[in-house]
Symmetry: C2
Subunit: 376 residues, 2 copies
């Protein structure tokens, strides 16, 4: 099992990438190929007495976090991102992991790997902590405008991920909305509701509001990228706000010393639960290949966990299961509209890629260090 790791992706490359790859490789039977500046990677790698099954592939260029994605992908064809992704395309590796520019990863994926046949829009997904476990939410920002068809694809892909990467046997699927009644939301949400209700092979439980989502009442929650991104960013913001208030309270209380120690410990534990570095990254589902996106602020632990998660997804044939689920959706018909717009101008517009000057909507969690600053 070989994973191509873009070693120039984090905010401080390639330190976290190299160390994370070495640790993961020593603790599993996975092979990691670090893709990036050869001299730099050699120097870093040599610092480790035991290197595990880690090798280096040279890539002379690197795409930086703030570069306009379309232009960057077009101009830097020898970037670590390109070289690593082409290794997946050509079968040299089974999966691609990067903590680089999310917009550029989405563009490169579209250009190099393309979508699974029948998938109009790949979706960015991530698991959120709940009172009962974790819930997959998608799309988190890859597509700001979606049709009912797209939402149903997200449901099928989310189910495959929940079942085959997270081990949930019969995932409960819901649509994120501001009310439980099926009349809520616009026409698109209502059409997706009707279609999912009719899909007997899916465990569709209806609309879900944020509160029951946080309580863990669903395993897969589907929404368009604007709503998903707003949900993600609001969650992060409120968690930050609450953490700050709790800490400030303890630091100013009379029992300040004990209080501050206890508070710090509590917040650390909660932060741990909410820290994306403790989980396996955000898969870009629907892409014709296994692509895992990490945020730029990823730590060694974040890289290491992403490798384990990817290994698990590969062992459980996630990609094949997504293919099957999409095939089922296609055969069932159900939703109007063709799924064949994968390469159309419309779907490019959905990704914000209609011109060289416009960037795809970045998913906040990856675009900055914000999410790792939660509760700090």
């Amino acid at each position: 099992m070989r994973i191509a790791l873009d070693a120039m992706g984090t905010d401080n490359p390639p330190g976290p990438e190299v160390e994370g790859a070495v640790l993961a490789s020593l603790n599993s039977d996975v092979e990691v190929i670090l893709v990036g500046d050869e001299d730099l990677l050699k120097e870093k790698l040599e610092a480790f007495p035991k290197k595990g099954n880690v090798s280096i592939r040279h890539a002379p260029e690197a795409i930086t976090p703030l570069e306009p994605p379309v232009i960057a992908v077009r101009k830097k064809k020898h970037s670590s991102m390109h070289v690593a992704m082409r290794m997946v395309k050509e079968g040299e590796a089974q999966a691609f992991i990067s903590a680089g520019n999310t917009g550029a990863i989405m563009v490169a994926t579209r250009v190099i790997l393309g979508s699974i046949p029948g998938v109009a829009r790949p979706a960015l997904s991530q698991t959120f902590p709940t009172l009962q476990g974790r819930t997959v939410v998608l799309d988190l920002g890859a597509n700001v405008d979606c049709t009912a068809r797209h939402l149903c694809e997200f449901a099928e892909m989310g189910v495959a991920y929940s079942r085959h990467a997270l081990g949930v046997e019969n995932p409960r699927i819901a649509l994120l909305n501001i009310g439980e009644e099926n009349v809520k939301g616009g026409a698109i949400a209502r059409e997706a509701y009707r279609t999912l209700s009719k899909a007997s092979h899916l465990n569709f439980i209806g609309n879900i509001e944020p509160r029951p989502l946080c309580e863990g009442k669903a395993d897969v929650v589907v929404c368009d990228g604007f709503i998903g991104n707003l949900f993600l960013k609001t969650s992060e913001a409120v968690a930050y706000f609450m953490g700050k208030m709790v800490r400030e309270h303890f630091e100013s209380s009379n029992m300040s010393k004990i209080g501050a120690v206890l508070a710090r410990k509590a917040l650390k534990q909660i932060k741990h639960k909410m820290d994306p570095n403790e989980y396996s990254g955000a898969p870009l589902l629907g892409v014709d290949g296994t692509v895992i996106v990490l945020h730029g602020a990823s730590t060694v632990r974040g890289i290491e966990n992403a490798i384990y998660g990817t290994q698990h997804a590969l062992e459980n044939h996630l990609l094949e299961h997504i293919r099957e689920n999409i095939q089922t959706l296609k055969e069932n018909g159900g939703v109007n509209g063709s799924a064949q717009d994968a390469l159309s101008a419309d779907s490019m517009a959905g990704l914000g890629l209609q011109s060289e000057t416009e960037d795809p909507p970045e998913a906040a969690v990856f675009s900055s260090a914000e999410s790792s600053n939660l509760l700090q």
Copy 2:
């Protein structure tokens, strides 16, 4: 100064209404008229040795929280809500306060009071706690689909509220979005951005994401009702989730006793800061009258604070200032589209009132006890 208080609105009427009215009246020079079942109100009121300037107006009917708004408003013309609102219409009272069925309040307002000339869509607003103070957010769910014109009206109304009810001299206005760049969001958000940028009398600071909103970087945040309602519900859900995690951590820690005491105290203080009962309710801005909406779970303290807030808004001529701001918007032109759809089928559809069987989207904070359960 006379306030008509729907005394049958809370989840357990009329206890909180009667006590809140008595306390507020004793602590200020405001006169409160309790509207509802006369016998019931008399009995409750007689329990107080000092009653302040509180009187009773009989209304034989009451609209319950779960009744379909349009039908309820049409059929129960002698409800406490109707009677109290007609008192404002006829000049017998200067303001209306209710913790009743939010959808019904919106419908009754439309039928009885109407909108300020030039206002196409009244908006539900509320202040949110931030690290620096409080920020007004609107619309929170009165209008699921909005045009740029509507968003600009919300901005003008929000500025009037921030300035004349909350005392912010030059309120910073922002549009809630998933990125700061002006290309984010749909065509409507972009048009509103352009128009607000050109309005030299407004302190427009651009788009705002949830994180800077929580940090207090804006005084007035504008969005359509779907986004506002999702923001509201996500905030409440995450606050609940975080509170639960903090409490659970402390209760399970080794230093459990001290920890639990400290945690309870901290959470109580934070809850206090986030408790809507500590603030002055949610004004339905743009209505031709002063209308304050409270959630059904409002406490005595919630009723009392709403009365003080209403008094303050009346003293500062909030309604007149909203009229002036809307006049300014009208004169400046700016946004395309007529503001004259106040009574059109389109705007009724926006409120979800196109048929008797469909209810307007309820704003979660008012529709249930959820928000008062924050952190419990």
